[in-house]
Subunit: 285 residues, 2 copies
């Protein structure tokens, strides 16, 4: 596996592959890789001749009081994992290759804004977060012009924002969603799980269990969103360590809140704080 | 010359040219072509093996009370001009190939916003205009992945916004500015000049003359921007038919207003109404 820092070198390799008729699967990550990321690499490996993963902890998607500085960066371990998974290239640019110096001193000029989809749920709790995600991904898509890019369903709203951007801006790129990978007890894998204390880690699977309670209610015929939402919330509230930020039952594409389930694809979203750690999860409902 | 409506067909041709090692010059236009556009085609022809021009009257960059409906669309004549100029492809997509239907009924989701540069001058007089330009150009750049794109200096702020977007979002694209083409009497060519009454057309060159008065002042040693701006304004105000919207003397890259000329590249910008027609012009100062 080759490790590349230069955007121009990265771009030239991908273009030469494309001109040789090869298909490229791309996995953009912030590193601190876990089995969820490796499922993305595996999916890319299965459908493409070439696989590129990038690691870039994007300052633009962190709020001023968020965990940018302490975000884990185990680059040696990540690199080893990607190599073992059969990744062809790890693209690991420095911050100043992706942002010009004056962008951080004088402010970013060019933003990719995703209205509505980018403003609700995670966008409301973390202002600017999804705009930061969309803006950096467009930069990476322009540097790694792959045929397919892989995103985990764990960050469901991010997935929908990326699908929207790629469709709206007419990128020649297929966004491939990959199912959330979970611990045996149901906790969705996340690079932030390492922040959890032992006690928090014990109760963390409650988020997934609560969502499953919602699914069971629906299977048993419940259609009232307020009832389903209240049940999910109640499961979480039973644990004092879990502070729910939102429970939302939404249209699976627009993420607009629903009143009743009327057969359209729906998704239940949850965000909660466990101590100083923020976790999100979601489920098809 | 081939005329293409389909974005996918357009993209495939450009990609095949690129893979064959050919360089492509791209000229995005709204049609109603004049000698200014033809200078862009000529510049593209001289530096590339292939030349693509597009014609698309972009609804997103028109304000609600602007001239979208009456904007001239002489497609037969435009097509003939491009053919004679040696253009390889005219890309003329329908509106619904560039915008999804629901984008106009439910609103655009994804905007490319250019802060500061996009908010001042033209952005202030025409809110949303430069955002509309940036958003549609990104779509076209993703459909026509050329090596070079050509823009006239007449729309100077647009040129700077495009340079910014391409640099910030890491497009692999060189933006080539081409000098403004003028009538013999100095009026900058514009598709909107056809709107001018005979009397308005008579006084329209005053804009360029006023800017030249500014240049002469500077050549004679004037450094105070307020003095230079007042002189430009006075030349225009002498004609009752000209209603100046702004005269600005700015940093040539950031378009931030200057107090004094201190040797950094500067530009004088002017916008004015002549009856119901809006004209803009600019000059290096």
């Amino acid at each position: 596996m080759q490790i590349i820092e230069s955007p121009q070198e990265m771009r030239n390799i991908v273009k030469s592959w494309r001109c040789a008729g090869e298909e490229i699967g791309y996995i953009p990550t912030m590193g601190a890789l876990h089995a969820g990321h490796m499922a993305l690499v595996e999916a890319a490996r299965a459908a493409n001749q070439r696989v590129v993963a990038s690691i870039f902890v994007n300052p633009l998607q962190f709020g001023p009081h968020e965990d940018l500085d302490k975000y884990p960066r185990p680059i040696e371990r990540d690199s080893q994992l990607l190599k073992e998974a059969g990744c062809d290239i790890l693209f690991a640019p420095k911050v100043d290759a992706i942002y010009d110096g004056e962008e951080f001193t004088h402010g970013i000029h060019t933003y990719v804004e995703v209205n509505k989809l980018g403003d609700m749920w995670e966008g409301a709790v973390r202002p600017g977060h999804l705009r930061g995600v969309a803006t950096v991904l467009v930069r990476f898509f322009n540097i790694v012009p792959a045929q397919r890019a892989y995103f985990g369903e764990k960050d469901y709203q991010q997935l929908k924002v990326v699908e929207r951007v790629v469709q709206d801006l007419r990128y020649d790129l297929e966004i491939v969603p990959v199912a959330t990978v979970r611990e045996e007890d149901g906790l969705a894998l996340s690079s932030r799980n390492v922040y959890l204390s032992e006690a928090e880690r014990q109760v963390a699977p409650t988020l997934h269990q609560a969502l499953q309670v919602g699914v069971t209610l629906v299977r048993n015929g419940e259609r009232e969103v307020s009832t389903i939402g209240a049940a999910i919330q109640a499961v979480c509230d039973a644990s004092q360590l879990i502070k729910v930020q939102y429970v939302a039952i939404v249209n699976a594409e627009t993420l607009a809140p629903l009143d009743t389930l009327d057969g359209q694809p729906a998704r239940a979203l949850i965000a909660a704080r466990l101590g100083s750690t923020r976790l999100i999860d979601n489920i098809a409902i």
